[in-house]
């Protein structure tokens, strides 16, 4: 036996909740397969509603610190995430290629686009206030100032088709504006999202600001949509029927809801995803004498 073959080391993919990497509390996993050949890639944790509940608790706990951080600081932290992502480029190219059945060059382009998208949103953290806020002219001796404030805990259903670029495109705007996120990764291709948790953990993002769950989208989205401590819901990754029932459930405590629509992840995203998770606070202040 001349060539000693190494035993392969398989990766145990785990959830990312509260800055830690737990298994699902239910102990369940499901098989993730190659989108082309259908060959087995890995077992991903199949999170339960209790994992979703724990993620919301973690996100709520992190909200005060994250929303209270200066926009400049958030921008720096997000840029750091892009640096970490760039450093793991090779791993993500492989995972995206397997997950979406892309050629190596196309997967590489998707990962590059994801890094660029993240940097783009990182730049927005301290600029969005100038775009959507401002001083309003009023008929009286007052300053009237509108400032955008983060909504709170946002539950995000990541797009089903684009496992990394799509995830980045929906997640970055949520945390760029100071909200915290509970993300349900693409059901069929969760592995890049779960690895992205490792990127977040090794950058300076405080634990709980982003929580990533994998599993059955419908099973996880239902308790999140009705959860009284979730402030907003991004339905990008929901099917039409599911989106309808979730929106009904979300109406109970007046969550902000962003409906699903056909998306092209390669085009300029604009600021609509940033402004979706902002509340405008307007204050009147007497002009001093």
């Amino acid at each position: 036996m001349s060539e000693q073959s190494r035993l392969s080391v398989f990766k145990t993919y785990k959830l990312y909740v509260g800055g830690k990497f737990p298994r699902s509390e239910s102990g369940r996993v499901y098989e993730v397969t190659d989108s082309k050949g259908g060959s087995w890639l890995a077992n991903a944790p199949q999170a339960s509603r209790k994992d979703a509940r724990d993620a919301v608790v973690a996100a709520r706990k992190a909200f005060g610190g994250w929303s209270g951080a200066t926009a400049y600081n958030r921008g720096q932290v997000l840029y750091r995430v892009a640096e970490m992502l760039e450093g793991r480029r090779e791993q993500f190219v492989r995972e995206v290629a397997e997950a979406e059945g892309l050629s190596k060059s196309k997967a590489g382009a998707a990962v590059d686009a994801a890094v660029d998208r993240w940097v783009w949103y990182a730049g927005w953290t301290d600029k969005i206030a100038q775009v959507v806020g401002g001083a309003n002219p009023v008929a009286g001796p007052y300053f009237n100032l509108s400032t955008p404030e983060p909504t709170g805990v946002v539950a995000v259903l990541a797009p089903q088709d684009s496992s990394l670029l799509g995830l980045v495109s929906v997640l970055a705007p949520v945390i760029a504006t100071g909200s915290t996120a509970v993300v349900v990764a693409s059901e069929a291709a969760p592995l890049p999202a779960l690895s992205f948790g490792e990127v977040l953990a090794t950058s300076d993002v405080p634990g709980g600001v982003v929580n990533i769950l994998s599993g059955r989208t419908a099973e996880l989205a239902t308790p999140l949509a009705s959860h009284q401590d979730v402030n907003a819901l991004d339905l990008t990754g929901a099917s039409v029927d599911l989106a309808r029932t979730l929106e009904e459930a979300a109406a109970d405590n007046l969550k902000r809801v962003r409906r699903p629509a056909p998306e092209d992840w390669s085009t300029d995203p604009g600021t609509s995803r940033l402004t979706a998770w902002l509340e405008t606070k307007t204050v009147w202040h007497p002009i001093g004498v």
């Binding site: 509940r53 919301v56 709520r60 308790p223 009705s226 959860h227 009284q228 401590d229 979730v230 109970d252």
Partner: protein, 331 residues
Amino acid sequence: MPSPVPAYAPDAAGRLAALSDVTASDRALRRFLHGLPGVDAVGLEARAAGLGTRSIKTTAKAYAIDLAISMIDLTTLEGADTPGKVRALCAKGIQPDPTDRTTPKVAAICVYPDMVATAKEALGDSGIHVASVATAFPAGRTALPVKLADTADAVAAGADEIDMVIDRGAFLSGRYLEVFEEIRAVKQACVRADKSVAHLKVIFENGELATYDNIRRCSWLAMLAGADFIKTSTGKVAVNATPPNTLLMLEAVRDFRATVGVQVGVKPAGGIRTSKDAIKYLVMVNETLGDDWLSPDWFRFGASSLLNDLLMQRQKLSTGRYSGPDYVTVD
């Protein structure tokens, strides 16, 4: 054996007198307390951990949550307490969840002695007791006359229950009779002019007693001295109520009832913040003592933030939706 009586019953003194020889002198008391069997620490911790693994769901959980709410001594013991805060807490104790009128009320409101009158007035005829800490809570480091005056003051203001702290310094240096006499004296001070009595809870501060053996000895000492309740801790030190030391106290009250025929209550306090923890304690009570102790008359939780978590769990059970801190009060 005749049926057990509470420690405040008229004939309890007679039953305790059966053990008067062990409290006759400091030496006799020491011999008795040190003669109690040693605690198997590993076994105790394993048993407490084992009882914490029971799965309590659906209707049993709903029952446990309501029972836990009705057992809470809703507590505010801060230097910054104001009459307004105490009144707000009383209102919450009477109607913990204004959105659901079927929520049971708590057992008692626990305050410092100077807030007793305020609490008493705010609670009116709701049936909720006012518990007051006394005897220089939480350290207990003053002279006996000061402690007794502190107690008498709270009792005169209308406190239904007195939570006293023992002199840990005396206990740890082996002056057991001194601790015994002090508890007796405070119990005397709990009697009002009209002969009605405030029930006495004796706080050990388990975190400062250092060993399980000491907790067992202290439990017997307090019960011999006539405590109506034994309570784990003040909530003011690093180690408060833990499942093992509460289990140890539950076993002590069980053995005490079997020996003397006097039933004593138990109150874990401090560090119990979630419904899950509270339910673990209830399982422990049920498995160690049975139904007899599963009522607010015999088991209490000293807690403040626990109530909010119980209310959120209750809302989850009744609506099916996870609740959040926006739907309970900020205390």
